[in-house]
Symmetry: C2
Subunit: 197 residues, 2 copies
């Protein structure tokens, strides 16, 4: 009997997802054919349809699970932290770790978002909005009188800062990790000496 869901189908699906993440990141969703993807998995062409309903479905599963994981772990880390300051630091830490360990996924997420089928696109949008608001909530309790819209824009900017770096090859991971965290925190936390002139 087929294991219906929420069970780890052993390897192929995940191999396909991982390979697809790398290929999509390198050449874009539309720049990778199912034949390319199959070949890169050692099988070839239409064998993918034994594991996914369509090429879109591969992208959908990839992006939805990213968004779910970001939100789930983010929420957990916030409720484990004491105080908005610690919560925000935990969020920054988590996001930087994720971005550095899943560079391909980050690239695909914000490049090929629009190629998602409608249903998955809306699910991702909902999850992302929740994630943004998780950040925005912490920001609003750190900055007096910060309105929600501005807080969301700040969160978005921080994501841009952190997510930008997968595209740069150079710096070794540990240094990059520290640089990103320092920059993100300076950008997000209220400056002790107020605004620069």
């Amino acid at each position: 009997m087929s294991q219906v869901s929420s069970d780890e189908t052993p390897s192929r699906r995940e191999q396909i997802l991982a390979t697809a993440a790398d290929l999509f990141a390198a050449r874009g969703f539309h720049g990778v054919s199912v034949a390319d993807l199959g070949t890169a998995c050692g099988i070839s062409g239409p064998a993918l349809y034994k594991h996914f309903a369509s090429k879109d479905a591969v992208l959908a599963e990839m992006l939805v699970s990213i968004s779910e994981q970001l939100l789930a772990v983010g929420t957990a880390r916030v409720s484990a932290a004491q105080g908005a300051d610690q919560a925000l630091r935990a969020l920054v830490d988590w996001h930087v770790d994720f971005a550095l360990h899943h560079r391909a996924l980050i690239i695909v997420q914000d490049r090929d978002w629009e190629s998602l089928p409608v249903q998955a696109r809306e699910r991702v949008r909902t999850l992302q909005r929740s994630y943004v608001d998780l950040w925005a909530t912490q920001l609003r309790s750190l900055h007096d009188g910060l309105d929600l819209t501005t807080a969301r824009a700040m969160a978005h900017a921080a994501f841009g800062l952190i997510n930008s770096t997968p595209r740069t090859g150079a710096l070794p991971d540990p240094s990059l990790h520290d640089v990103l965290i320092a920059m993100a925190l300076r950008a997000l936390l209220p400056a002790p000496g107020d605004l620069p002139a």
Copy 2:
């Protein structure tokens, strides 16, 4: 005889470029057919080839000119400024202004970069590297002992911060402008009170 280069063919070319920027930004380079692009310009289909050698050439001209403009104006503003601090502020100002006034171009630039034909891709890479180094130079004279690689990573992160926001609809322009400048400067300038604990 065809006018070889460096001459302003009055309007159609520029209309095509502007329309293409919007369409590419909305649906991605591969998501827009030449028929779509033509129709959006009031003409239809292969008439584009009277103005551009190929679909790739449209993208190439768009992205090369962005990179040239960013570098040229950035260089000018730096040499007009006195001191690295003022130079960096001028760079941030220029980049934020550009990103807010050319949201479509910014989106295309970092989404569809890989769709460029090789020649244009290398030209863009060269220009971008110069632009990054322009920022990195200012950063290195502001931070003691900052190595070039790290400075480049910081510049990249700042671009990510600033460029991320075209994708968000919400905040009205003037507020967003101020928020971005403030965040970018906090992220880039040495913190008066050093690193947060």
